[in-house]
Symmetry: C2
Subunit: 240 residues, 2 copies
C-alpha cells in the first residue's frame, strides 16, 4: 500500500534542538541525559511494552502509521502480502533490532515468529529526542545502517543465486545474528525461510538436503544446526 504523502524525505527541523531546550521544561529533557545508560532508561519510559504469541500480528500493513518497535525477546518477521496470496518475508528482526524506522517497513505487516516481547515508540517522537541526544541519535543511525547492510545482503541473496547459495547466505546471516560458535538456532518454519529467500518450501527442503549431503550442515535438533562455516562461506560467495 503506497502512502505518497508520507516519505522518508528530509523533514524540517522543528521542536527540540540542542541549544534551545526551553520549551518543555516540566519533564526530564533528553538533552540532560549524559550517558547511554540514562538514555536507555529514559527510552524505556517513553515506550509501550508489547507482547505477542507466535503467528500473531504485531502491526498490520501500514495501519500503525507512526509506530516503530524494538525487539526485546523472540523473533519478528516483516511480511509483504500480495493479491495472489504470495508472501515476501522482507526481514527477520531479532532481540535488539529496531523495525519500522523507515516508511517502507511501516507499510509491511509485522508478525511474531516465536513468543515475542517488544518496546513500541512513536517514530516522530524518537526523531525529536534524537535531535538533542547524540547517544540516541547514534543508536538510531546505527540501527538504520545495519538495516541497510542487511537489506543490501538480502538483495544480493535474491538476485543471482541458486537455491543452495541462497540458503547458504541466509544461514550465514542467521549465524551472524544469533549464532553461538558454529551452532545456529533456526527457529522459523521452512515456509518463512522460503518466503525470505524467494523459493518454495519444497526447494528449501531440497537445498537443506544438499547442504547436509555436502557436510556443510548437520542437524543437532529440530531447530538447531551445526555449520561448517568455511564451507558455508564458500558456497554463499558462489565459490562452492
Amino acid at each position: 500500500m503506497m502512502v505518497p504523502d508520507e516519505t522518508d524525505a528530509l523533514p524540517k527541523v522543528v521542536g527540540c534542538l540542542c541549544p534551545d531546550p526551553r520549551a518543555m521544561r516540566e519533564e526530564v529533557m533528553p538533552c540532560d541525559l549524559r550517558s547511554e545508560e540514562e538514555t536507555r532508561a529514559f527510552l524505556q519510559q517513553q515506550a509501550a511494552r508489547v507482547i505477542a504469541a507466535p503467528d500473531r500480528v504485531i502491526s498490520q500493513d501500514g495501519a500503525a502509521e507512526r509506530r516503530c518497535f524494538r525487539v526485546t525477546e523472540g523473533i519478528v518477521r516483516l511480511v509483504q502480502f500480495y493479491a495472489d496470496g504470495n508472501r515476501q518475508v522482507t526481514r527477520f528482526a531479532f532481540p535488539g533490532d529496531y523495525f519500522g524506522l523507515s516508511r517502507a517497513e511501516r507499510e509491511l505487516t509485522a508478525e511474531a515468529v516465536s513468543q515475542v516481547t517488544l518496546l513500541e515508540f512513536d517514530v516522530g517522537r524518537l526523531q525529536q529526542l534524537s535531535d538533542c541526544n547524540p547517544y540516541l541519535a547514534r543508536q538510531l543511525t546505527s540501527a538504520l545502517r545495519a538495516n541497510v547492510s542487511e537489506a543490501t545482503e538480502h538483495v544480493a541473496l535474491l538476485g543471482r543465486k541458486d537455491p543452495r547459495e541462497r540458503l547458504a547466505v541466509f544461514l550465514r546471516m542467521l549465524h551472524r545474528q544469533v549464532g553461538l560458535g558454529d551452532v545456529v538456532p533456526v527457529r522459523m518454519p521452512r515456509t518463512d525461510i522460503a518466503d525470505f529467500i524467494g523459493l518454495t518450501p519444497e526447494t528449501v527442503s531440497r537445498a537443506f538436503a544438499e547442504l547436509r549431503r555436502r557436510n556443510i550442515l548437520e542437524d543437532l535438533d529440530r531447530h538447531l544446526v551445526r555449520l561448517d562455516l568455511s564451507g558455508l562461506g564458500r558456497l554463499a560467495d558462489g565459490r562452492g
Copy 2:
C-alpha cells in the same frame, strides 16, 4: 568481501558533542551552523569533488574503507561482482542520493552509469559533524531511511515476481526518482537493468516488449519512455 571488524554496530560517542565544542576552536564549528543552507555550504568545503566518465569505477570493492559519496549529477550503480562473472546491481544512485553510508554499501563497487559528478566525504567525519548539527543529522538519517525503503522495495521486487512485474516495479521506482509527469528517462543499459532486477538482458527485453504490447509503456526516444502509471501500478502490485 567481509570485513568483520568494521560493523554498523553502535560506535562510542567521542569527539564533538553538542555541549562541549571547545576542542577544535580554530575552525568553523558545525555546532555554529544555524540553518540548512549554512550546513550545506559547510559540507561542500568538507568534501572532495569527484568526476567520473561512463563505466568508470568510482570506488572499488571496499577499498575505499571510510569514504561515502553524494551524487551531484548523473547516475551511479552499486555493483556486487561474483566469482563466476555474474553481477548484482544493488542500487542506482541519482542526484541528491548518498551512498556508502553503511558498511555493506562500502563493500560494493561504485561505477558511473553516465557522466557523473560527486562529493566525497569521510564517513566518520560526517558522523562526528552530525553529532553537533541536527540539520546534518536529519539529512543523514533521512538518507538512510530512504535507503532502507528502497532496499525493502528492491527485495520485494526480487523475491516473488515474474519478469513483467519486476520491470514494472523497477520502472515505478525510476519514475519516483527521476520521473517527469508520466515520462521517465531510462538512461542505463539493459544489462544494468537486468542485473538490478535479477534477470538476463534477453528476458528484460521480452518484458519491455510485453509492456509495450499492453500499452503500459511507449518509447519516446532511445532513453525516454512514457508510462501508463495506473496500469504500471497494477502490474507492479501483482494485480495486472
